[in-house]
């Protein structure tokens, strides 16, 4: 028996303040929970939801065309304005871009995420995480300007394709209506490429997390029961990865809907929702219309999640 440790079945109170605080919190676990959760909840509740509510409220006001002052009377006129041809074009353009970016991101991200979840081990896994996350550590603006240099007419891509005698391919692509343009850096194609590049980590990581949770023996069981790899993908792997794909698509979709920097630097000069919001609340000073524009992504994301839920995307959660 040790002489240092007194042999008692119940140890005495150590007497210090911290030990008394520990005892108190152990007896009242909800106090600790309240202390930990109250600040962020207040922040979310007041600052975030409060300002969101204030914004929504703004969208039901209108602006006086002559004085430029806000008319604080409830009206749906601002929302009607969204359906003007010019404004509606902005919405359609942004939503289409977000949808295509999301779809292509998912298609590119899936094999990468699958490799990382199934095969990468040890240092390859570290390499994967670094490869996916490293771009996130550098400035978003630097990356976009780098892409501008890559995609510009005098840029590295044109140079490379010239060396490969494939410039005609780029020219053919750029001569296409809508998606083409003078060069990639001033076309929708360019905007699309940069969107896909910048949001890719947000698609890869949730899919990888979802695939990591799929036990290998489910894949084996499917194969054992006679399913070809294609059928296994369709009936087992894809449904089980779907929550991850949906999570990733929420990121890519909503980030594309709200972004106003990428289309400003790379692309044709036609506006996206983010740019419209920026312009309306800034130079134009039309806060109600800016607010109404902001409501669009919120409604679209709501509809998207509702649809995903109805299609059973979250059944495997």
């Amino acid at each position: 028996m040790s002489a240092i440790v007194e042999q008692r079945s119940i140890l005495p109170d150590r007497g210090s303040l911290t030990s008394r605080v520990s005892d108190f919190l152990w007896k009242h676990p909800y106090v600790l929970l309240t202390i930990l959760l109250a600040p962020p909840l207040l922040w979310l509740g007041i600052i975030y939801l409060g300002s969101l509510f204030a914004l929504l409220l703004q969208s039901f006001f209108s602006i006086d065309d002559y004085s430029g002052l806000i008319n604080y009377e409830f009206t749906l006129a601002t929302y009607r304005q969204l359906l003007n041809e010019a404004n509606f074009d902005i919405i359609v353009r942004t939503v289409s871009m977000a949808a295509i970016v999301t779809l292509v991101s998912a298609v590119i991200a899936f094999p990468i995420a699958y490799y990382a979840a199934r095969y990468a081990r040890g240092k390859w896994k570290v390499f994967f995480y670094l490869g996916v996350m490293l771009p996130l550590w550098s400035s978003y603006l630097v990356k976009i300007y780098a892409w501008k240099l890559i995609l510009a007419k005098e840029g590295i891509l044109t140079w490379l394709l010239t060396k490969l005698n494939l410039l005609w391919l780029l020219d053919a692509w750029l001569s296409l209506p809508v998606i083409g343009g003078n060069s990639l850096s001033v076309s929708y194609t360019g905007t699309f490429i940069v969107f896909v590049y910048v949001w890719m980590p947000f698609m890869i990581l949730p899919i990888q997390a979802a695939l990591e949770r799929v036990p290998t023996n489910l894949i084996e069981a499917s194969s054992d029961l006679g399913a070809t790899p294609q059928q296994t993908f369709r009936h087992v792997l894809f449904p089980l990865a779907l929550p991850g794909i949906v999570a990733g698509s929420i990121f890519t979709f909503s980030l594309t809907l709200g972004d106003y920097i990428i289309p400003q630097i790379i692309g044709s000069s036609r506006l996206f929702i983010g740019q419209a919001v920026y312009a309306q609340q800034g130079t134009a000073g039309n806060i109600p219309l800016a607010a109404a524009f902001t409501v669009v992504p919120i409604v679209i994301m709501g509809l998207y999640l509702w649809g995903a839920r109805r299609m059973g995307a979250f059944d495997a959660l």
């Binding site: 023996n217 084996e220 194969s223 054992d224 006679g226 399913a227 087992v236 059944d315």
Partner: protein, 332 residues
């Protein structure tokens, strides 16, 4: 007809010889057990039959057809996985009907087949539930139904009872056995539980270090273990060293002696007798296990609960029939 044939089959993972030159012939309709400790190669053998692994050497046939290079989905072999591997996003009915669905069987037909299969494993009407809502034993039955609905030529079972509690395990053992008799399908069963293998199988292959140590009926394997490993692993026999055996008047060889073949006290005429000291005793219910030291060699004795046992430290006399002393191969 031979259901599964292994000719000199090996599966090496780098320097690790998971399965090493195994020869095996499982007859049609047989209940075949592969028994061994973890890492002995029994599960890899099962995975070679299912097609999840490909042999690095040798030849595999399933009902006379070459199986190496054939993917799992083209084998008429189905597996009941250790942790069942039910699809969590599908209902029980869709789980059971999965094999028929991917083979293009019509909706109505496969629903009926799946319901019949669920009835067969005594889970009628459970089709609408999800795997997460069932107990371990019920999931086990669903996994069985999901495999059997495909009418496989060979059913592989990978430690299917390992996760169940004792009572349920014993019940499932009997059900599996009778199911196998009724269906007449070849069952290949992997287990590390020697009791399970002995009570269920028609024949047992005992694995160690990627090799088959002994292949025979449960009685043969239990009563006439060929190697020290088998004697030790199957039925926890006493393994007696050569010097000891020689003193008993037998050959200079390792021998096995089953604990229940030994009686405490002097037996009848013609019995071999040993004198030793009681080291410990433990009460097992129907019997007492007594550990006796005979000149330093420890011998386990299984004595009926009715027999009286000397206290620890006291001298004791052991006796047994010479016929129960089973000489083993010199190797291993």
């Amino acid at each position: 007809m031979t259901a599964v044939l292994f000719e000199n089959v090996s599966r090496h993972f780098g320097a690790v010889r998971a399965v090493d030159a195994v020869d095996l012939a499982i007859a049609e309709g047989e209940f075949f057990a592969m028994l061994g400790p973890s890492g002995s190669g029994k599960t890899t053998c099962l995975r070679l039959m299912a097609g999840f692994e490909q042999p690095t050497g040798g030849h595999i046939e399933i009902f006379g057809e070459t199986a190496e290079g054939v993917p799992p989905y083209r084998r008429s072999v189905n597996t009941v996985f250790q942790d069942y591997a039910l699809f969590p996003h599908l209902s029980i009915l869709d789980n059971v009907a999965y094999g028929l669905m991917v083979k293009g069987v019509g909706r109505e037909e496969r629903r009926k087949a799946a319901e019949d299969a669920l009835a067969m494993v005594k889970l009628p009407g459970y089709g609408t539930r999800r795997p997460g809502q069932l107990s371990g034993g019920q999931r086990q039955r669903v996994a069985l139904a999901r495999a059997l609905v495909n009418k496989p030529k060979v059913l592989l079972l990978d430690e299917p009872l390992g996760a169940l509690d004792l009572k349920l395990r014993e019940q499932m053992q009997e059900e599996l056995k009778s199911l196998q008799k009724t269906l007449g399908i070849t069952f290949v069963f992997v287990t590390h539980d020697q009791g399970e293998a002995l009570s269920m199988a028609d024949r047992i292959a005992v694995f160690n270090d990627g090799k088959i140590q002994q292949l025979g009926t449960p009685e043969e394997v239990y009563k006439q273990p060929r190697t020290r490993f088998v004697a030790d692993f199957v039925g926890s026999s006493n393994v007696l060293p050569p010097e000891f055996v020689k003193q008993l008047g037998a050959a200079n060889q390792y021998a096995s002696l089953r604990p229940e073949a030994i009686t405490l006290g002097r037996g009848g005429d013609g019995k071999l007798v040993l004198n030793g000291t009681v080291l410990s005793r433990s009460f097992l219910g129907a019997a007492n296990r007594v550990l006796v030291s005979v000149n330093g060699t420890k011998i386990n004795v299984m004595s009926p609960a009715t027999a009286s046992i000397p206290a620890e430290g006291n001298p004791v006399t052991l006796s047994f029939d010479r016929a129960d002393l089973h000489l083993m191969d010199q190797a291993s």
